[in-house]
Amino acid sequence: MAKIMRKITDGILFAATWFFAAITLLVLLFIIAHIVINGVPYLEPRLFEFTFTSENVSMMPAIISTVFMVFLTLIIAVPLGIFTSIYLVEYVKKGNKFVMLIRSAAEMLAGIPSVVYGLFGMLMFGQFFGLGWSLAAGVLTLSIMILPVVIRTTEEALKSVGDGYREGGYALGSGKLRVVFRLVLPSAVPGIMAGVILAMGRIVGESAALIFTAGTVPQIPQTLGASARTLSVHMWALSGEGHHVGEAYATAVILLLIVLVINTAAAVIAKIFTAKGSGA
């Protein structure tokens, strides 16, 4: 009797697993198909002209602003994140109070909703530092937002570098700095890259934090003080005014493409990483 019951629960669990996995796959494919089917017909050349006008509602300035935003944010956040992880992994002993503090701070930062980052960026960079709605305010806000992502992945990457590297370096008489920069960091590059790519994805997808900080101007920003809208904000703006639903879908297709490229890059790098890791 118990055996039959057991068989039945096994069957149910087995069926449930397949069922839920099938739901996941279906829902996901459905979302992607929906966007592609509705967006691709609107991908016209006028959407890629360099100046936005009310007629062409070009997304090109938004694409360029997105590139600026990603690039500038990474320039600030990546070195900061890497230096933080170097400090956490290479310089302080485990269990140090300061380390605990930094870790909890980074974890807390990772959990803060983007709309709160938007409020904070508006209050601190926009008003207190007088940057207004600008690329600079957006970049600074996003830098703080992605910092925990960079820290976490870099930390993992540094930790996974074998101690043999460090000991070998010291045995040859190198200073700590040299060991870190010449030996440890290079072997951690793939892991760090994976974190950077993750951060890129986060920047590309962000909208709530940028509306309050970088503003919504649909032109290519000429200076750091100029306002700019990224692709995600562009889509939000298009979906609000009511004239350009098709164009909003087309923007979604481009966003999807960007995410796809970013993910593929991450997968390729992860592959290199694991190949290297298992070799060592």
Binding site: G11, F14, A15, W18, F19, A22, I23, L26, T53, S54, G132, W133, G215, T216, V217, Q219, Q222, A226, S227, A237, S239, G240, E241, G242, H243, V245
Partner: protein, 286 residues
């Protein structure tokens, strides 16, 4: 063996369910009059809402009496999309944004058309204002002059109703620099066209347009974050202390329903009652 069977059963169930859901979405009968009215409003502070509640007498004695059950759509297109899909919904948008996915209802027997706004028979309209402080820069003043000139008002004419009867031709120009304009999302498309025309005349000028809502634009103009604020509602007394309001265009407001909805005409009183929640079902209208 048994597992493969189970797998195929599960797949079949999921696919049937998915198909069932889709066929359920495609629907059956038409408009049922006894159903509830789904009221769709805009967010507090939206110029469109401000104008609507002023004209309809919903804003009385400092209290916005819009029913708390009204759905809040954060933008014109959200109003349009929701109403296009919902037979029992009612909302309001700028006449300039009206398209054939929804239907505008006659107000007190008068059709919502530009001509009727112009001749004064259609009661639901608002004014687009530009809010500027006394310390406006010469460049921004020049842009302002352009917008209320014959050339500027001709641009208004394409989608809206000019605020000035017989504007004089534009005589300024020759400036360089940057102008920041911020405010109403409803005025922003018009401002975008103004920007294009003005920059064609003055290539050395760049104009930033921020769509931050009427209230946001008024605040920005007052605080100096923007040279010109765009507002799609009348400025309040407290705001007029700091700012001058210049009317640039008139815009009708359309009360819209789903294409399947059988209602064609509502009196202003009925619209009022629907939006304050005193009429809650479609069959209470007759």
């Amino acid at each position: 063996m048994k597992k493969n069977f189970l797998k195929s059963v599960v797949m079949a169930v999921v696919l049937t369910a998915a198909a069932g859901i889709f066929s359920a979405c495609g629907d059956d009968g038409g408009f049922v009059e006894g159903r509830e009215i789904n009221v769709i409003s805009r967010e507090d502070g939206s110029g469109t809402r401000g104008a609507f509640i002023d004209v309809m007498g919903i804003y009385v004695g400092g209290v916005d009496r819009t029913t708390v059950n009204a759905e809040i759509a954060p933008g014109t297109s959200h109003v349009l999309t929701n109403i296009a899909g919902d037979r029992y919904a009612i909302g309001y948008i700028s006449l300039g944004s009206l398209n054939d996915t929804v239907r505008a209802i006659n107000v007190g027997g008068v059709a919502a058309t530009e001509a009727n706004v112009r001749n004064g028979s259609y009661p639901l309209f608002r004014t687009f204002y530009l809010a500027v402080s006394d310390g406006i820069s010469p460049l921004a003043q020049d842009f302002l002059d352009f917008m209320v000139s014959a050339e500027g008002q001709e641009i208004v004419e394409r989608n809206y109703i000019p605020a000035l009867e017989s504007p004089s031709p534009f005589t300024g120009g020759g400036h360089e620099g940057t102008i920041v304009v911020a405010g109403s999302t409803s005025v922003a498309p018009l401002m975008e066209r103004m920007r294009e025309a003005y920059i064609a005349l003055n290539p050395g000028v760049s104009i930033e347009i921020q769509s931050v809502g009427s209230g946001g634009g008024i605040n920005a103009a007052r605080d100096g974050m923007a040279d010109i604020g765009m507002s799609s509602r009348d400025l309040r007394e407290g705001e007029l202390v700091y700012l001058n309001a210049i009317a640039v265009a008139l815009d009708g407001l359309a009360v819209i329903v789903n294409n399947d909805n059988t209602a064609t005409n509502l009196s202003p009183d009925q619209i009022h009652d629907i939006f304050v929640g005193e009429i809650t079902r479609w069959n209470e209208l007759d």
